[in-house]
């Protein structure tokens, strides 16, 4: 098949196109701040063992063999104080980055992947394939997400992966709808039709023409999904359905709430996990906003 | 030239746009008159400043644009010197506007009647009944059945919508209507209908019209007077008949060649003018048309010709104005306009 017939303007190598497809938003100061925050959290997660002064689940004792419980920030060398059970809060925050980023990134990949595949398939092939897939999306829209995760928690072992599974089952819906309409727009542009007429296989057309145009969108929705995943995981842990073995920020908040931290004004206990969540999720928002401005540049924004 | 017969006299008007750090002069010392009861065509290609000029008369221009000089004397008052409040009082009552695309210019969520009432009652002070009577009268004038007053803009066809726009413009009996490419978006047959309608209404009511268009055949068909603009400057103006029979500026000569005649008369070869207008970010020193002009001399490239008035109000900005008859003879030849000539 002659290359010149099927292709759109200048086509650099596959890798270059992939990376240009991602198009990191480096011109927006907020987006850069977001990337820096992500980098900091990522490094913290990787080097948690080195950074954290204590094991997050370890119950600590003071020098006089008393339980090192309810210590205020700064007392006895605990930067953020300790919980009612004598665990170091700062260490818990450090280790919390792990489950947050793990859940966040896995869920984001699942949502983006499933949503993109469904959207591209529906948009490209049309017909009954599209109808079936879009009806599935409708049904997914009818399932309230958090309640669904809770119901799943009734049957599955408590684990941070419950959130990922639930998101994979339900939250691909937004991405799918948007990607599908994107693909429909692409189909209206001449070169896809030209490629079909010239005999290119569907798979090839999708890979070469549709995917590069659709990938930025997938990344956008993926980056938004990271925030959703972290918030959801926090909510699930807070409600008591999380994995008690892994110290997540949501678990810390549940612990604080259950131990009457509110009435005892123990701000050092429940404020830090919340702030950590806000930082990571905001970072995600800033990065996705930076993306949006690149994908859909609007003047005077 | 400001006589009793002149409704609007524009003198040395300047409009600047702020683009990033630089300033672009979209309209550079424009001068022309609009006589009472006449249709004046403002013609030129895209980007020549005609739309900016026309909008400047209403003083509703882009946020980043300013009127930086000149005067616009309307019925004895300089519009440039008025406060926003004073200007607002004139709007629609004395100076109305017909947009290029009525679809985008009518609010989609209100009925046509509502939008008429906005001006009839809101600005005209009419009672509800009087407004109703006037609305029906206006619709009859433009040829739409009054029953359609309750319809929404999207329910009208393109040509009908333009008629609605005309009815709106006429609502408060203005002295001047500015029509921005009023028929460009319509097909040729409808174009003629709308232009005919506009002309008969204008004559009946004695309104002056400034019609912005890029199509010289529309000008030939409808306008009594013509103002030709190029790259922000007025290059020629005068009675349409004079301009088209005996154009003096080479650009006008080129325009004549480039368009099919609306009346469908015998046609020679269509001769486009090669090249493009200069960027207004850095306008050239001399005459702005020099790079495309088949008759340009050395002087043309270094000295910008001033707009000089001749007999019968026929004004031209060209160094070689005196040689016009000879140049005209050359201009009708196809070869004159080829790049290498």
């Amino acid at each position: 098949m002659p290359d010149y017939v099927a292709t759109a303007p200048a086509r650099p190598g596959r890798f270059r196109r992939f990376f240009s497809g991602i198009r990191l938003p480096l011109n927006d100061p907020f987006a850069i701040a977001g990337l820096i925050i992500y980098a900091v959290f990522l490094l913290t997660a990787i080097f948690a063992y080195q950074i954290a002064p204590y094991d997050p689940t370890e119950i600590l004792y003071s020098e006089s063999y008393d339980l090192a419980a309810d210590l205020r920030p700064g007392e006895e060398g605990h930067i953020l104080g300790t919980t009612s059970l004598g665990r170091d809060i700062f260490s818990q925050i450090i280790y919390g980055t792990r489950s947050a980023l793990l859940v966040g990134s896995t869920a984001a990949v699942m949502v983006a992947l499933i949503g993109t595949v469904v959207g591209v398939t529906a948009g490209y092939f049309g017909g009954w394939v599209e109808t079936v897939l879009m009806r599935l999306a409708d049904i997914a829209f009818g399932i309230p997400f958090l309640p669904f995760v809770i119901v799943l928690a009734a049957f599955l072992e408590p684990s941070i992966w419950n959130v990922v599974i639930a998101m994979a089952l339900v939250l691909w819906r937004d991405t799918a709808r948007v990607i599908r309409s994107q693909v429909l727009t692409l189909r209206n542009r001449g070169y896809v039709e030209a490629a079909r007429i010239s005999g290119s296989s569907d798979f090839r057309i999708i890979l070469r023409h549709v995917a590069p145009n659709v990938l930025p969108m997938s990344f956008l929705y993926g980056s938004i999904a990271i925030g959703w995943a972290i918030l959801t995981e926090a909510s699930i842990s807070f409600l008591g359905f999380g994995d008690p073995q892994s110290i997540s920020w949501g678990y810390m908040l549940q612990d604080a709430f259950a131990s009457q931290a509110l009435s005892r004004q123990a701000y050092y206990w429940f404020v830090p996990p919340g702030v950590a969540i806000i930082l990571v999720v905001s970072a995600g928002f800033f990065i996705s906003r930076g993306y949006e401005n690149i994908l859909f540049p609007k003047l005077n924004r | 030239m400001s006589t009793q017969d002149t409704l609007l006299s524009v003198t040395d008007l300047q409009v600047d746009y702020q683009v990033g750090a630089s300033t672009v002069r979209a309209v550079d010392r424009a001068t022309f008159d609009v006589p009472r009861g006449a249709i004046v065509g403002l013609v030129g290609e895209s980007g020549c400043g005609k739309t900016t000029m026309a909008s400047a008369i209403t003083r509703i221009i882009s946020d980043n644009a300013t009127i930086s000089g000149g005067q616009m004397v309307f019925d004895g008052t300089d519009l440039v010197s008025l406060s926003e409040r004073q200007m607002n009082r004139l709007r629609w009552r004395d100076i109305a506007f017909i947009p290029q695309s009525a679809m985008n210019s009518l609010d989609p969520v209100y009925t046509v009647e509502y939008q008429l009432n906005e001006v009839l009652r809101g600005r005209g002070g009419l009672s509800r009944r009087a407004a109703r009577v006037r609305s029906e009268e206006l619709f009859e004038m433009v040829g739409i059945e009054p029953g359609r007053l309750k319809d929404f803009p999207h329910q009208f066809s393109g040509g009908m919508r333009q008629r609605v726009a005309i009815a709106l413009a006429l609502a408060l009996d203005p002295k001047l209507i500015i029509a921005d490419e009023p028929v460009t978006a319509l097909d040729v047959i409808v174009q003629r209908q709308i232009l005919d309608q506009l002309r008969s209404l204008q004559q009946m009511l004695g309104i002056s019209v400034v019609m912005v268009t890029h199509d010289i055949s529309v000008v030939a068909y409808t306008c009594d007077h013509t103002v030709v603009m190029y790259a922000g400057k007025v290059v020629e103006s005068g009675r349409t008949a004079d301009l088209l029979r005996t154009p003096v500026h080479p650009y006008t000569m080129g325009l004549k060649n480039a368009f099919p005649d609306l009346k469908g008369a015998e046609q020679g070869l269509l001769t486009p003018i090669e090249g493009a207008p200069p960027s207004l970010m850095n306008p050239p020193d001399g005459c702005r048309f020099a790079s495309r002009c088949p008759f340009a001399l050395e002087m043309c490239r270094s000295v910008d010709p001033a707009l000089m008035a001749g007999q019968d109000g026929h004004a031209v900005a060209c160094h070689r104005a005196a040689e016009a008859p000879a140049l005209r003879a050359e201009a009708v030849k196809y070869e004159t306009w080829q790049e290498d000539a």
Partner: protein, 325 residues
Amino acid sequence: MTQAKAIISRLLQLLLVLWAVVTILFLLFRLMPGNPMAAYIDPTFTAEQQEALMAQFGLDKPLWSQYFTYLGNLLQGEMGYSFRYRTPVSERIWALLPNTLILTFSSLIVAYIFGILAGAWLAWRRGSSVEKISLTAVLTTRAMPEFWLGMVLLAVFSFWLGWFPAGGTRSPGVEYSGFWGFYTSADFLAHLALPAATLAIYSQGLPLLLMRSNMLDVMKEDFVTMARVKGLSKWTVVVKHAARNALLPVMTSFAISVGYQLQGNVVVESVFSWPGLGRELVLAVSASDYPLAQGAFLMIAVVVILMNLVADLLYAFLDPRISHA
């Protein structure tokens, strides 16, 4: 009339989604616990109760037959008996529904009124430093876990300042005169304040950003310029023309937001011990009270699905380009 056709197709879609969700629920609760009967029968029920439930839900029959019995029962509002409360599930659900709806709608209305006004105002103030700060603040509210916000508000306004009660819907010992008396009492409103504020703060970001974005777009439209050329007052131009058009998508997003708000309800109700469907779902799942969990989930899903439909219809109704095609 294509409009009737559109409405009918939309209703059919609603039915499809409802049916699918109900079916998913059925399969989930029958297959997951391992014992299909566990969906309705708790070992601590008396023998007569167990027999009655077996008969009502056909639990001794094959799965497909149970399915139709289940559907039939649902249509009649029969959802079994709660293991914990020993009362019919439907009774409990209907009693809790008003609490959840009031919390959801009151907070959402406040959020939208604020968001619309603030969004329009921010569009006005485009490019200023106020805008940058405000937008960052708004994005931050969307980044915080609702329950955490609730915790902070509780700690500050209830435990520290003592201005509001710490949870629930009623204070002990206070008298009410019937259903409406209760819901309009000052005591109830005092209890509603903090949870509603929590949800409102979290939710206002969407209408705010949407309204701002729409206003910025609409202000560039030709008909807005036209309104100015007509010499209309600034108020008329900005409110009657620009805002009216910008508001359209925001109104439809309200309906969809109800669905999302309901999910937020789950955690906020838990923080404030608000007796609503969300909190009940959590308690039921924790206690393995399957019938109640099913019922609560179903009710939430029904409201979400209904509001999605309302959103679609609302758009068609409000936009003359669709309603008067």
